[in-house]
């Protein structure tokens, strides 16, 4: 597609339920990032995928969070046993490749997650 697509755009879930957030990066972009934007906070790095390399999971806040990227394209961020503090906008970004070009992020519009 022309841009980074995220679905759903909004998700309301009950505390304790699992949720899956999807990201379709720009075709051909090898790098994919997940960030979290909480109210009044900046953007917090969660996880990074580069091609077929093992992901950099250093930003995941707890073991309830996981992500996978199938076929080097679509990514799914899964939050298990959601808590109210997980409420945030989850942003996905992709970029063409390594180093300098890696900073040419294109962000999706995000998924607003509300845990009630």
């Amino acid at each position: 597609g022309a841009g980074v697509s995220q679905s759903p755009s909004n998700k309301v879930t009950e505390k304790g339920k699992d949720v899956e957030l999807r990201c379709d990066p720009i075709s051909g972009h090898t790098a994919l990032y997940w960030y979290r934007q909480s109210l009044g906070q900046g953007l917090e790095f969660l996880i990074y995928f580069q091609g077929n390399s093992a992901p950099d999971k250093s930003g995941l806040p707890s073991d309830r969070f996981s992500a996978e990227r199938t076929g080097g394209s679509v990514s799914t961020l899964t939050i298990q046993r959601t808590q109210q503090e997980d409420s945030a906008v989850y942003l996905c970004a992709s970029s063409p490749g390594r180093e300098y070009t890696n900073y040419g992020y294109t962000f999706g519009s995000g998924t607003r997650l509300t845990v009630v």
């Binding site: 900046g42 953007l43 390399s53 950099d56 390594r98 180093e99 900073y103 992020y105 962000f107 519009s109």
Partner: protein, 120 residues
């Protein structure tokens, strides 16, 4: 560790007035610096970036930013603000981190943002 500070949470300017949004960073090496804009319900759009060279960089929508190493600053400016510029603006520093299991990651560390309101 790197960090970014945007000291102004909220700024209001009149349409046609000049604008300066402040950004200070902390990073041990030469930083890669960015400004992004986020309109309501939208993703982040890159306004401009600094990697090296000329310290005054031009971006889209008439924005510019100046890198001042001595002040660890990368302030965003626009000579005349339009009502459509109302949005949230984020400054970010880019860091390359090598991890054995994942190769080189190029991560952005963002400030907390400045919300710009434009009055007519």
């Amino acid at each position: 560790a790197q960090s970014v500070t945007q000291p102004d949470i909220h700024i209001t300017v009149s349409e046609g007035a000049s604008l300066e949004l402040r950004c200070n960073y902390s990073y041990g090496a030469t930083p890669y610096l960015f400004w992004y804009v986020q309109s309501p319900g939208q993703g982040l759009q890159l306004l401009l970036k600094y990697f090296s060279g000329d310290t005054l960089v031009q971006g889209i929508k008439g924005f510019e930013a100046e890198f001042k190493r001595s002040q660890s600053s990368f302030n965003l400016r626009k000579p005349s603000v339009h009502w459509s510029d109302a949005a949230e603006y984020f400054c970010a520093v880019g860091v390359s981190v090598f991890r054995l299991e994942a190769g080189t990651a190029s991560k952005l560390t963002f400030g907390t943002g400045t919300r710009l309101q434009v009055t007519l």
